[in-house]
Amino acid sequence: MNDSARRTLFFFFAAILAGALVAALRHLPSFGDYQGPYGDVILSGCIPQRHTPQGVAAVTFDYRGFDTLGEEFILFTAVAGVLLLLRQQQCERQEKPRDCELGRAIPATSSAVLAAGLLMFPAALLLGCSLVLHGHLTPGGGFQGGVLLATAFYFVYLSSDYRDLTRFTPDHLLDYLEVTGATTFALGATLPLVLNRPFMLNLLPLGKTGSLFSAGFLPLFNCSVGVEVGAGFLLLIAAFLKQVIVIRRESDQ
């Protein structure tokens, strides 16, 4: 099929789909006029029941925690799949890491970039830890903080080179962290079953609302997800970087 026929066909069906979607969606409650009831029920219950002021975290890791467990394993499986598919193939070999750019030399890192990296690495790491640890009190949480934790290490890469990044983030350590994060969440969720209680029941004391150690399992789950997401994203990007920097085809020079 040529391009113009493809476009014509697309626009024809897109117009039908757009019409149907708008016709269906415009009967929803109008924008800014949320009627509830689920959100309001949770917001009125999350302090008395769970001792956490953070509505989103209470939904993610408690009221809807079972979904999040599944989501976490989607993430885990995707990371495992990426690592499996990007392993060294038979027709490939590993070389000394070398940044390659077609047709031009890589300039040395300037001292301004190095200084920015030195400043940003601890700042991003600290902010990531804070987001994870206070996930049940303030906006943030394991997923957001985990991504930020992973990002922090790329300031090392940007202000230095690939070898320093691998020194900071050894693969086998990340593997362990990834598995530990996933297992802590899964075991924490199933532990009540062993004690003949409902799945994902809070076993830890709920504590005083607003303090760091409160809301039962919530901070534990936030930390385990934070560790898993951070390690997972580092593993993902490390696998892609390795393809560009280390792995060469047997036939290439």
């Binding site: 897109a14 708008v22 969606l25 800014g32 953070q54 995707a78 892609f240």
Partner: protein, 114 residues
């Protein structure tokens, strides 16, 4: 005015689909898939919005202050995480197809065999 979020949702969805339908590069295709998915974020968040409402963090808010729905925010979070990891997985397929066939055009690459 209340139609605007719906129009943005539909527009984002269709723009992404257009990109997917006419794409000649797998990386471009994955980006378009992400744009399509972004329409679901807009849609979810617009459903739970309440005029004048703040983030659903109770903290020191006076009782009775309007708050937006935390359930859809949590769903959007799930949406983003799953989208990011699945995109990574598709990019790996694109990378391996490129290695094997020397092309990243989704139309010219033959179907993969296991």
């Amino acid at each position: 005015m209340s139609l605007l979020p719906i129009l943005v949702t539909v527009w984002l969805f269709l723009v992404g689909l257009y990109g997917i339908a006419t794409s000649r590069n797998t990386i471009h295709l994955v980006s378009c898939l992400f744009v399509t998915q972004a329409s679901t974020y807009v849609f979810l968040l617009s459903i739970g919005f309440r005029t004048g409402g703040t983030a659903p963090i109770l903290g020191k808010l006076p009782p009775g202050a309007p708050l937006v729905d935390p359930v859809v925010q949590s769903l959007a979070l799930t949406d983003i995480v799953v989208g990011a990891t699945v995109s990574a997985l598709i990019l790996v397929f694109a990378l391996q197809a490129h290695k094997k066939h020397g092309t990243s055009d989704p139309r010219s690459a033959p179907p993969m065999r296991g």
